[in-house]
């Protein structure tokens, strides 16, 4: 185990790769831990990209089932998150190729509607309304981004991937990824300038 003798490994929680290796060895609890770490980020990445909650759930289940079935063949060749989001990226491409992912993100559907933010009791009604308006605006701007720019932004925000890892997932080179991310952030910041 490559992290077993490092000080960081002594203190930190097990890495994603270690958990996946343990799961490959038959440790179901390791999968639970791994799943808990990445379930929300992967789901939101899919939701933002395909814009349909039902489709996102279907894709989400497909990806995790594929990961489960491929556990025996898993080898640590890269960061686990890169591996996981590569599965998600490929599955999304299949989804788009079948013509099911052409609709834009709908912000009004789903049980976890982001607009239904729990208002803090301390917040004044005006601030709560402003917060909802700000969230709506941000998600609208994100949905209007070109798909490749939105993808880079989501991989950075939801997956926590750096430029190299995003480049590995998407198959683009590092400079292209950096350019896409810069454009995405610039557009979001410009669109939200009234609220900043």
């Amino acid at each position: 185990m490559r992290l077993a003798y490092t000080p960081a490994a002594m203190d930190a929680r097990p890495s994603d790769e270690d958990l996946m290796l343990r799961f490959s060895g038959g440790d179901a609890a390791a999968f639970d831990a791994l799943y808990a770490r990445h379930r929300a980020g992967v789901f939101r990445y899919l939701l933002r990209q395909c814009g349909n909650r039902a489709a996102a759930e279907e894709l989400f289940q497909d990806i995790w089932m594929k990961l489960v079935q491929a556990r025996a063949r898993y080898q640590v060749e890269a960061k686990f998150a890169t591996y996981l989001y590569t599965l998600a990226h490929n599955r999304l491409i299949d989804y788009f190729r079948r013509g099911k992912g052409l609709e834009l993100v709908s912000l009004d559907e789903g049980e976890d509607d982001p607009l239904e933010l729990p208002a803090s009791a301390a917040l004044q009604p005006e601030r709560a309304a402003q917060s909802r308006e700000q969230a709506t605006r941000l998600l609208e701007l994100l949905a209007k981004l070109p798909a490749v720019q939105r993808q880079v932004f989501l991989l950075h925000e939801e997956g926590g991937l750096n430029l190299e890892e995003i480049a590995e997932v998407t198959g683009a080179n590092r400079e292209t990824v950096k350019s896409r991310l810069r454009y995405a952030l610039a557009k979001l910041r410009d669109g939200m300038k009234d609220y900043l």
Binding site: F23, G26, D27, A28, F31, D32, Y35, R39, A40, F43, R44, L47, R48, R53, E57, F60, Q61, W64, M65, V68, Q69, R71, A72, G110, E111, D112, P114, L115, L117, S131, Q134, A135, L138, L139, L142, E157, E158, L163, R174, E175, K178, L181, R182, L185, A186, L188, R189, M192, Y195, L196
Partner: protein
């Protein structure tokens, strides 16, 4: 790979500036998969960990092994049964094309045996019955001609029967028949009365030719025996009644010369073999009926 550090710094600055967006994004981006989906995925993972990965081919080995074994057994059994049945003649081999194939494949030795059988049969009057049957019959019928002539309705092998059914159809002679045609029939056979000594080898060779081409069933063997008997009877009809004359070697030098033959008869009479001398004289007369006897010669028995 050269890294554009100024570009990275610019990106870091942009990310720092955009950090103000992060709290807002985190505040609104809180969607999660439904609990039922979580439970389903976790259950699938637990099921997967309980089942050991199977080696490649294990599924085939367990699920297909028995049907494949049964199928292989059936194929082998049927193949062996058909081969044995064909070998024993219980099934018709028997397309019409297979007969000449058998005859041709038998090789030159077997052709010679067939030719010997045919020529042997042609040596007596039996040629009328047997030879014509062979030459006019189905040329592809690779069977002893005397057998077919002696007992056409005899229970022979199915192969023979199927071949004889097409006897009226004029078909070009096979390689065996073509080889047989140019063989000249010995003129002596027509002039000379066949003896039992010559008829016997003919029937023997005919019998020997039959198994050389294909193994004849019991009916065919019976037919060959009948053929031998018929040839013998024909030979008896044409042979002189005296057994002594028939016992004389047909290749004796004095037979070719009437005077020498008469001298031989005189020697027999001088030796006291009166009956032999008479029998020999009768044979002489049959052979040379118009020969004028010398003045001093006294015919035996007179």
């Amino acid at each position: 790979v050269s890294v554009d550090r100024s570009g990275d710094r610019e990106l870091e600055q942009l990310l720092a500036d955009a950090a103000v967006l992060r709290p807002g994004y985190r505040a609104v981006s809180r969607e999660e998969p439904p609990a039922a989906l979580d439970a389903a995925i976790r259950a699938a993972a637990r099921r997967e960990t309980r089942t050991r990965p199977r080696p490649a081919g294990a599924a085939f080995a367990t699920s297909r092994r028995i049907p494949v074994s049964i199928a292989a057994l059936v194929v082998v059994s049927v193949t062996i049964a058909v081969m044995v049945a064909q070998r024993e003649g219980h099934l018709p081999v028997a397309s019409k094309q297979s007969a000449p194939a058998l005859a041709v494949d038998a090789g030159p030795a077997k052709d010679q045996a067939a030719v010997a059988a045919a020529s042997g049969a042609l040596k007596g009057k039996a040629e009328v019955d047997t030879g014509k049957a062979v030459l006019q019959g189905h040329p592809k019928a690779a069977r002893p001609p005397a057998s077919a002539a002696a007992k056409p309705e005899a229970p022979v092998g199915k192969f023979e029967r199927s071949a004889s059914r097409g006897g009226d159809t004029p078909i070009a002679p096979t390689a065996v028949e073509r080889r047989r045609e140019p063989l000249p029939v010995q003129p002596e056979a027509e002039q000379k009365p066949p003896s039992t000594a010559t008829a016997q080898p003919a029937s023997t060779s005919a019998n020997a030719a039959a198994p050389a081409r294909f193994a004849p069933p019991e009916g065919a063997a019976t037919g060959a025996a009948d053929e031998t008997a018929s040839v013998k009877s024909l030979a008896k009809k044409q042979a002189p009644p005296s057994t002594a004359a028939a016992a004389e070697p047909s290749t004796a030098g004095w037979e070719k010369d009437p005077q020498a033959w008469l001298a031989h008869i005189e020697e027999l009479r001088a030796a006291g073999r009166t009956e032999d001398a008479e029998a020999s004289f009768r044979a002489f007369r049959k052979r040379y009926p118009d020969y004028k006897l010398p003045a001093g010669f006294v015919a035996p028995g007179r």
